[in-house]
């Protein structure tokens, strides 16, 4: 494919027939050649197809459309749930093949999980890098979970003295967290 900026004064875009054709695109060579005069907007559209940049490696829209028949993605209530941050509904998400904002991931809980699991070959848990800021927070959270489990066991075993110590540890951790603005 090649293209050129043609300053044709009278030609209309062959695709939309509205705007002035400013770009000349031709594909193929020799005897099999197609030529088109397009406006910049339409040329941009065809431009994208020609430089297939293999990033998103399969057609997500197609995949998600097939998912829309899935029961968990179907609308059951009359008013569809909307993301408070961006206004997306599960329908718009499926239609676009994209979430509207980061909060959509939590807004559409099980439906989001379903989409992710299908797109990511049944994987559902991130095990990679954690942002520096989130690391301390996650560490505290894990510690708290562990201590709470310990506390429950101690209470059950009626070892109240030790339980009190663990309870204080939990309190201290929670307060430290608050101080850090976590």
């Amino acid at each position: 494919m090649s293209f050129s900026t043609q300053r044709s004064d009278e030609m209309k875009c062959e695709s939309c027939n509205e705007r002035e054709a400013t770009i000349h695109i031709s594909k193929g060579n020799g005897f099999e050649k197609t030529e088109k005069f397009l406006c910049e907007q339409c040329a941009n559209a065809s431009f994208e197809n020609d430089f297939s940049y293999p990033d998103d490696s399969f057609n997500i829209q197609k995949l998600l459309k097939s998912l829309s028949e899935h029961p968990s993605l179907q609308q059951t209530k009359r008013r569809p749930k909307q993301c408070a941050t961006c206004g997306s509904t599960i329908n718009t998400i499926v239609q676009m093949g994209k979430f509207g904002c980061p909060d959509c991931y939590t807004t559409f809980g099980s439906q989001a999980a379903d989409i992710i699991s299908r797109v990511q070959a049944h994987q559902s848990e991130h095990v990679g890098k954690v942002p520096v800021k989130a690391r301390a927070q996650l560490k505290t959270k894990k510690q708290l979970e562990q201590l709470k489990g310990e506390l429950a066991k101690l209470v059950e075993a009626q070892e109240f003295e030790e339980a009190a110590v663990v309870r204080d540890e939990i309190k201290a951790l929670e307060q430290a967290g608050d101080d850090d603005g976590i």
Partner: protein, 354 residues
């Protein structure tokens, strides 16, 4: 007929040459350039396609620019169609970005580009040739840490880095390497190979064009899954698969050499003749001929001084050729013809023809 001379911003910025990082690199027999990309988003902000205007991202950029020294800010709005095409051909930005992207920060040697408002708020991209993929990842990772010190990323304990498209969620990492696979192509081994790879969550696809044989027999190997594996696992797996493909290509080349030497020699020297003496060269043909020359030099069937496959493949792309035409300020009836003529002239010149 009109004479043409455009005021091309991208040229004035110096993006009309092969990127310094590529200029300085050694060429390998099969492996070409590699790329690592991290998709990142700012918390509680609509993804780019849902944004109304750019006001919401502006304060983020202000913060980012505190850390981005030595980067050039390239805004998409001021660029002409062909300026954008040139940046795409240099892999500095994606085609999607030329349509909807806001701006890009590009490092001095052009090995790093940070796209703002591509599909995600931020896409950090590092490129290189002949480097371990892990080095490219470490570089992107360090930039990521740097940016994170200024911006609150959208991150979820369970899903990792949150992205507009669920195909990127988790690590947000896409690693890819371009491979020159003429022998595997001739041996019809690409299809089975690629079917095998997809079972491991990797894809092998032709770059440029949808045809059955991609331009210049160049393919791109990349990871398809971004969740459930660490960045290191993704990179190491990709590296391992790459090595296996390189091995297979080399095996096929030995087979070609022992079983089909005359055919290979014939196509190498035919292509040499065409590139050296033709007066019109469509892109597809030029890429095919260059691919033949590369195979010929790799197999020591032909010696070519100064031949550099990867760089030349970039130089024959439409926007690069168009740029040479701009400089000449020529009058032409059909630009299509002029481009093919200019491409042929460039090849003749590079190969010392007439």
């Amino acid at each position: 007929m009109k004479s043409r001379r455009w005021n091309r911003q991208v040229m004035m910025m110096g993006y009309d040459h092969i990127s310094p990082w590529m200029q300085e690199s050694e060429e390998l027999p099969v492996e070409m350039s590699a790329r690592v990309r991290l998709a990142r988003n700012v918390s509680h902000l609509p993804f780019p396609y849902m944004m109304k205007g750019n006001d919401a991202i502006a304060p983020v950029l202000e913060k980012l620019e505190k850390t981005l020294t030595g980067y050039r800010r390239v805004e998409m709005s001021g660029l002409q169609f062909e300026d954008k095409a040139l940046l795409v051909e240099k892999h500095l930005v994606s085609p999607l970005f030329t349509k909807q992207g806001l701006l890009s920060y590009i490092s001095e040697d052009e090995s790093v580009s940070i796209m703002v408002n591509e599909e995600d708020h931020l896409r950090i991209q590092t490129m290189g040739v002949g480097l371990p993929m892990m080095d490219l990842y470490r570089k992107a990772d360090a930039i990521d840490d740097m940016l994170e010190s200024e911006v609150d990323y959208a991150f979820d304990e369970k899903y990792g880095y949150l992205t507009a498209c669920p195909t990127n969620v988790g690590t947000g990492l896409r690693a890819s390497v371009m491979l020159h696979l003429p022998a595997l192509t001739f041996g019809s081994r690409i299809q089975p190979l690629s079917a095998n790879l997809s079972r491991f969550g990797f894809t092998l696809r032709g770059i440029y064009g949808e045809g059955s044989v991609p331009l210049g027999h160049i393919y791109q190997l990349s990871n398809q899954l971004t969740l459930g594996q660490t960045e290191e696992e993704i990179i190491n797996n990709l590296d391992e698969l790459k090595e296996r493909i390189v091995e297979e290509e080399m095996e096929m080349r030995s087979w070609l050499e022992s079983e089909h030497l005359l055919e290979v020699k014939d196509s190498v020297y035919r292509s040499y003749g065409l590139l050296k003496h033709a007066y019109r060269m469509p892109l597809k043909e030029a890429a095919k001929c260059l691919s033949d020359l590369k195979l010929g030099t790799d197999l020591n069937l032909i010696e070519l001084e100064g031949f550099q496959f990867q760089k030349w493949i970039q130089l024959i792309q439409p926007a690069f050729i168009k740029m040479r035409l701009n400089e000449k300020d020529i009058e032409i009836t059909s630009l299509e013809h002029a481009v093919e003529e200019e491409r042929a002239a460039l090849m003749r010149q590079l190969l010392g023809g007439e």
